[in-house]
Amino acid sequence: MHNFEFIRPPDLATTITAAAQSKTAQQGADVRFMAGGTTLIDLMKLNVETPARVIDINRLPLDKIEATSDGGLKIGATVRNSDLAHHPTVRRDYSALSQAILDGASAQIRNMATIAGNLLQRTRCVYFRDTAMPCNKREPGTGCPAITGSNRTLAILGTSEHCIATNPSDMCVAMAALEATIHVQGPKSSRAVPFGEFHLLPGNTPQRETVLEPGDLVMHVTLPPPVAGSRQVYLKLRDRASYEFALASAAVVITVSGGKVTRARVALGGVGTKPWRSPEAEAVLTGRPANDANFRKAAEAALRDAKPQSENGFKIELAKRCLTHALRTALTS
């Protein structure tokens, strides 16, 4: 691990000013916020991340879960994953989110990892994590050996010729379907970023993963009020039953009235370069009878643009069955 200066500014303003000195807030940032440490310390040990300055944000007042005036929920950046998953309001009104978090990592990591850290979770692509290998995300312009190499767990949606790394988060998939908003405080102003606009597709710049700029601090995430009568499911498929990343997962939030789907929100995990909301599946579902045939049509629509890599073609059918089964489970839940 490279040496660094460890600082703990007394307040938000000093924290943001210190971070604003970084040349980038993306891969290779020279100033990094540290919350749970579960991703960052791991990558620092691998020399994938080599910040000169680490800012401890664990003592900032960002650890509350509160009801919002409109009936939604405000989740502080440093709320621990386990605390959010077990929160009574989340279990009752946002069960897909609770389930997604509990399906991820281990109990110890969920006790450490924060909500903002989970938003910024990095890919598990083996080439990204190994500094002996080329990687366009880690070192732009060096190439992507995953495209012709070990890619069984990598993405089939949102890839580019420069990067096929999967976003590994479960929590983000549920937040995409629940239409969360991410609230960011920058050096000059604050802004609210709709969930679907927060993560970027790799395109020609896979080193840029989010819209965050130097000094931007994720303050909290808000969830809109729960939709009356909606049913939610998070379903995760993986190589072993626990403590494993998704090969495919689906978060669904659907409302059914008189046998028809009146509202649908669908997102997929384990298959996209970012948490993958599927407006295509939502369009197929909305206004049609809630039955297996239409669920399968929705899954076909969600995966229509999927591009298999050399080792992960199985993910296309797996993701279709995952989404179909999640919808079926939601209907009967």
Partner: protein, 199 residues
Amino acid sequence: MKALARREFLEKSLKTGGAFGIATSGFTGQRSEAGEAVMPATDGASEVAVTLRINGKDHQLRLDPRTTLLDCIRETVALTGTRKGCDHGQCGACTVHVNGRRVLSCLNLALMHDGNEITTIEGLGTPEALHPMQAVFFACDAYQCGYCTSGQIMSAVALMKEPCGPDDAAVKELMSGNICRCGAYANIVAAIQQVRQRA
């Protein structure tokens, strides 16, 4: 004659010039003012003063910022019951409690924990008065080589205070972050269920 622990043997061998004929580098058994063993500094200029409360005792330390909580516990404070397995948050051998919750000490910087209450396996029980979870692991033969055991026990003790269903499957799910390469899982689950049934 009192039997020497492996670590004590290595320390003494290194200090006296090396039983294996190697130089006295590495862990040379330096002592801080308070008497604890101190890891040789790699870069004295960047060391940071910190007070860590471990098993109810305050330790005033000077640490390289890179020092993980795990390395601090094992090498600086010389509490070697906490194990280093993968050092990347994948095996659970380094599990300790921070303010009563289980965490992985390998993915934490020691400097993040001033003011926190840290508990290691040494703070749970003593050879004369084992913690009930330690006693039941012994009774159930819930280990083979023992390398993962302190992490398993720290996880199991924390699990007692977490939401967990009554059946074995729920226990397995919540213990999945602790890998046992000997495969003693069946007896580990049995041990934990015994303690839960008594509680």
